[in-house]
């Protein structure tokens, strides 16, 4: 006799994973950033198991999407591998810190940190569309030493784009922290990778996105093995989320190719804002310093999210009008 209760729970988790995968890929933040809040806030999963499952799904989505990107030759494997020196080291530090935090029963810190990371990730991700091709900067000594030049064919503008990365050292420093967050919170920390490659190393957005996608798998693999031995990879949860998130991210990237209307993304950024604020509230409640009624927290988070996203949206529209482009 099949246990119907367990089966429906399994299918429900797969469903949650699909939703997380879709939102994660549409916003560019990756499945983990949505999966952990969904599992902890709505499914009542302890955060240590949610983080472990999220790391596993992060590897799955990274491998799934990177196989398409690397085939087109946009991802720069050489730059990726070079930066992995820092992210893998960071992931080890992050995963060990995670184990210490959980052993000390300080899970509320993870909730709080998670909320803050999601909220601060939204702004650079919203803004990133603006600087698709960065202004060229003169090559520095790291450009030559670490062979940071490359080119790819841009389908939309139908031309070959040549680029040269700079400030490898700064990229490495930022990537170390991206690795720490990945190991600590079970996410791909895409926003920090954007900061490291777009801003610090001056690489074109397409190269950054695709390279970071391929890198996330290596970073998450490093962290997840430590989770495994610590017992935070729960089979039931990890199996269901890996299947769900992978399906979701496939659907997400298919939608992304079809939808030219970028306005739809704002709805998802609003959802992320809501999740971030609710995670912070949950963290505060769990810390026992202050009690926030879940329902009050829920309503306040929704209100906050709506206002914040509305303001960001208006600000961007005004800027677009001032620049005269639509």
């Amino acid at each position: 006799m099949i246990d119907v209760g367990s089966l429906s729970e399994f299918l429900l988790i797969i469903f949650g994973g699909i939703i997380a995968g879709i939102i994660g890929s549409l916003t560019g933040l990756g499945g983990g950033s949505v999966l952990v809040p969904v599992l902890t806030l709505f499914y009542g999963v302890p955060i240590e198991y949610a983080t472990g499952a999220s790391l596993i799904s992060t590897i799955a989505t990274s491998a799934g999407s990177a196989s398409t990107y690397t085939k087109k030759g946009i991802a720069n494997i050489k730059i990726g591998v070079g930066l992995e020196v820092a992210t893998t080291l960071g992931a080890i530090v992050g995963a060990l810190t995670f184990a210490l935090v959980v052993h000390a029963n300080l899970q509320w810190i993870l909730f709080l940190l998670f909320g803050i990371v999601i909220l601060t990730s939204i702004i650079p991700t919203v803004k990133r569309g603006k600087y698709e091709f960065p202004e060229e900067k003169p090559a520095d000594f790291t450009s030559r030493l670490f062979q940071l030049s490359g080119k790819y064919h841009d389908d939309r503008s139908k031309r070959d784009v040549k680029y040269t990365g700079v400030r490898w050292w700064l990229g490495e420093i930022i990537m170390f922290f991206a690795g720490v967050l990945s190991g600590l919170l079970g996410i791909g920390s895409g926003a920090l990778k954007v900061l490291g490659m777009d801003w610090a190393m001056n690489l074109p957005m397409k190269v950054t996105t695709t390279t970071s996608n391929f890198m996330i798998g290596i970073t998450a693999a490093t962290g997840s093995s430590i989770y495994w031995y610590e017992g935070y990879i729960q089979f039931f949860l990890a199996a269901a989320t890996a299947i769900g998130v992978l399906i979701g991210s496939r659907i997400g990237s298919a939608i992304l190719l079809k939808v030219s209307n970028k306005e739809i993304r704002w709805i998802f950024f609003a959802i992320l804002t809501f999740l971030g604020i609710d995670m912070i509230f949950r963290g505060i409640t769990k810390s026992h310093y202050y009690y926030i009624n879940p329902l009050t927290g829920f309503s306040v988070a929704i209100g906050f999210a709506a206002i914040l996203i509305l303001l960001l949206f208006i600000k961007m529209k005004l800027e677009e009008k001032a620049n005269g482009n639509f």
Binding site: G5, I59, I92, T222, S225, Y229, I233, F235, F236
Partner: protein, 133 residues
């Protein structure tokens, strides 16, 4: 340029196969888990519960048990193997790029790839053996 083109198509191929293999194994394991109504001597509701013995630190399913588990049709072994395939996918990517850097005599990147592999193996093999928190 030619070798790196070959490298990217190889990497893309490895990733695709690995994802299919791993998700396939996880799905097969999950279906078996439901048909057998449990695995490894635990009922499915025990596997599902976060407080049961199977999910405690000291009982983490050791990868060493996977081969015998597969033969015994233990669903947990199938799911574990699927998850380990996933964890090892990036390692194979690193190895194939290492081969490429050795072939093109790119000394600096041979060293950098070695450092990344060292970090990964430290996390997979060395840290679990020595750090018991």
């Amino acid at each position: 340029m030619e070798t790196s083109d070959k490298l990217t198509s190889l990497v893309s191929w490895i990733l695709k196969i690995a994802v299919f293999l791993s998700i396939g194994l996880v799905t097969i394991g999950s279906i078996m888990m439901f048909i057998f109504n449990g695995a490894d001597g635990y009922t499915i509701s025990q596997i599902q519960s976060y407080n049961s013995k199977i999910n405690l630190t000291s009982h983490a399913f050791s990868p060493v048990l996977i081969p015998s588990g597969l033969v015994a049709l233990n669903p947990i072994a199938f799911i574990s193997l699927g998850l380990w395939v996933l964890i090892f996918t990036p390692v194979t990517v690193l190895f194939s790029s290492l081969v490429d850097y050795i072939y093109t005599k790119n000394k600096l990147y041979v060293i950098l790839t070695f450092i990344v592999l060292f970090n990964l193996f430290t996390a997979i093999l060395i840290i679990p053996a020595f750090v018991k928190l």
